[in-house]
């Protein structure tokens, strides 16, 4: 839009110059530290868990303690100290060349921002189960929902939340189910549908739900949106990355899976002279 003098109308940006408008909170010296309406030091420190505050910063409201405890358990399931896992591998490589622990850990977290594993998969996982439930409640059968999804992927079981990479079966789901039971959560509509879909995939393909499918369905039942779950899981792999960094850091440099020249297979152009 142009103003009357023919110049661009920049009033919106002018109003933002030099001023921060925060929807979250902040530290006002002498007044306190505020977080979504809570006084952090008075209301939260020693009273809420770290995971409750993590969720408060994502959701804008303080969730009940048991849900934060469940998310914390899910975090434990999503990171373990095995350097063969891609993000952890990066942690170990970082240790072998002596980066800082922070650099190694955030590099691993960044690597897990992947469409194959890590927190980003929840975007598709939640989208799938929430769309599937909408179809189910519009009277589609579970068989039809599965058939349509298979058709989209030319008959392959490429449904986000099912068919775990590297392995059949996912022992983490059983562990999280036990946590959910202990905390008093019931199976909701999303999770029940997730189980029903799993039963068909198990029957026809021998494939089962993976942790992405379980967490996506469970937290959908708790009212989470896809982006919220993604944001709550930003650091879900870091403890394992840090562990693998430390393991390599405490060994001699370049001792983690060293490569000889011929350990890389060259398939390119033969040696040639510059023109």
């Amino acid at each position: 839009m142009l103003s009357k003098n023919g110049k661009s109308d920049t009033r919106f940006w002018d109003a933002q110059r030099g001023v921060i408008h925060s929807s979250n909170g902040g530290w006002l010296a002498g007044k306190g530290v505020f977080c979504h309406g809570y006084d952090m030091l008075e209301d939260l420190v020693g009273k809420a868990s770290y995971f409750q505050v993590l969720m408060l910063n994502v959701l804008g409201y303080l969730p009940e303690r048991r849900l934060a405890d469940w998310l914390e358990a899910a975090y434990i399931c999503m990171s373990w100290p095995d350097p063969r896992i891609w993000c952890n591998h990066i942690g170990a490589l970082s240790g072998s060349v002596r980066t800082s622990a922070v650099a190694a850990s955030v590099a691993g977290a960044l690597a897990a921002d992947s469409s194959m594993y890590g927190g980003r998969t929840f975007l598709a996982g939640v989208d799938f189960i929430q769309s599937a439930l909408a179809e189910r409640e519009a009277r589609a059968s579970v068989e039809d929902i599965v058939a349509n999804e298979l058709k989209r992927h030319r008959g392959k079981v490429k449904i986000m939340g099912y068919a775990r990479p590297l392995a059949h079966g996912d022992e983490r789901i059983v562990a999280l189910e036990e946590v959910a039971d202990r905390l008093g959560f019931r199976v909701g509509r999303h999770l029940q549908l997730a189980y029903d879909i799993e039963a068909i995939l198990q029957r026809d393909f021998g494939e089962s739900m993976n942790i992405c499918g379980y967490v996506s369905a469970f937290l959908s039942d708790q009212g989470c949106k896809a982006e919220e779950l993604y944001r709550m899981s930003v650091l879900c792999v870091t403890s394992g990355v840090t562990a693998c960094y430390i393991d390599a850091r405490e060994k001699p440099p370049e001792a983690f899976l060293p490569l000889r020249c011929d350990d890389i297979e060259y398939r390119g152009q033969a040696a040639r002279e510059l023109p």
């Binding site: 408008h21 650099a103 392995a167 020249c261 011929d262 890389i264 060259y266 398939r267 390119g268």
Partner: protein, 272 residues
């Protein structure tokens, strides 16, 4: 509901025994298989490239597999100069400066800034989409396409508008420099259909105060040079890296007070 414990077994995918590359060949030295005695990039000896070709030529070789001709090399070098610094107001540069002034370990300044430069608005995350847009629309009439896209509802006042990947407006106006850079690049002998089409498209948008964005300029040159869209994001980050680092380091030796810190009077906590 807790089900029975599942039996977990590996899928036994067949992973390769060795990673393969077409880019780089390291020949082991005679005395130690871990030490390279020579390196070749797509068949050319690295030491010969050092003395015989420019940095820009070897950069092109790395990604395209062949050395560029004089025209391609000239186009890429001009692009690299034009994009060498996003400038001190770009959010990625500000991130570098913020890290520098707050005494972040200097080894982190560039990764921090490049991460911010990965955004999908004015950043690397937009370049692949812009390359795909240019490749897909390159055969269409730019004026007709512009008219069609302008039928879409405009955003609220006070928002940047990206009409198509790589084309839009910032702060209520078309950017001037990207348009001028694109015009000069299009005049070079190495330029091709991507730049020409983009210039015509930008001309068709000009009356609506829309035009080239830097992301679109980079995308069009990379299309003309035959790069794959998947290469676009990383190369855009690479092109901007020198300026990001220079600004970050400039602040690294200054006191923390060398950048503004918003005081409490200008920090507004909004009630939801």
């Amino acid at each position: 509901m807790t089900r029975q414990r599942v039996k977990v077994k590996r899928r036994n995918e067949k992973f390769v025994q060795r990673t393969a590359t077409r880019i780089w060949q390291e020949q082991a030295s005679a005395e130690n298989p871990y030490i390279a005695g020579s390196c070749r990039c797509h068949g050319y000896d690295l030491l010969e490239l050092m003395s015989g070709r420019s940095y820009v030529d070897v950069l092109y070789l790395l990604f395209r597999g062949e050395l560029p001709g004089k025209d391609e090399s000239g186009l890429l070098e001009s692009l690299m100069i034009s994009m060498i610094n996003p400038g001190p107001r770009h959010p990625a540069t500000r991130a570098a400066m913020n890290a520098g002034v707050s005494k972040t370990d200097p080894v982190h300044i560039l990764p921090v800034a490049l991460t911010v430069m990965g955004g999908s608005h004015l950043g690397a995350g937009e370049v692949e989409a812009a390359m795909r847009f240019l490749r897909k629309q390159g055969g269409s009439d730019p004026g007709t396409l512009a008219s069609e896209l302008l039928q879409n509802p405009m955003p609220e006042q006070g928002e940047d508008w990206c009409l198509a990947p790589g084309f839009g407006r910032r702060f209520g106006s078309a950017e001037r420099l990207p348009g001028e850079i694109a015009r000069r690049l299009a005049a070079l002998p190495g330029s091709g259909a991507g730049l020409r089409w983009g210039c015509a498209f930008a001309d068709a948008l000009a009356a609506q105060r829309l035009g080239w964005l830097n992301t679109g300029v980079v995308a069009s040159v990379l299309v003309d040079l035959g790069f794959h869209p998947r290469d676009g994001a990383g190369i855009f980050q690479l092109l901007s890296a020198p300026g990001l680092l220079a600004h970050g380091l400039e602040l690294a030796n200054k006191p923390v007070t060398a950048m503004p810190y918003v005081d409490d009077e200008h920090y507004v906590i909004e009630k939801r």
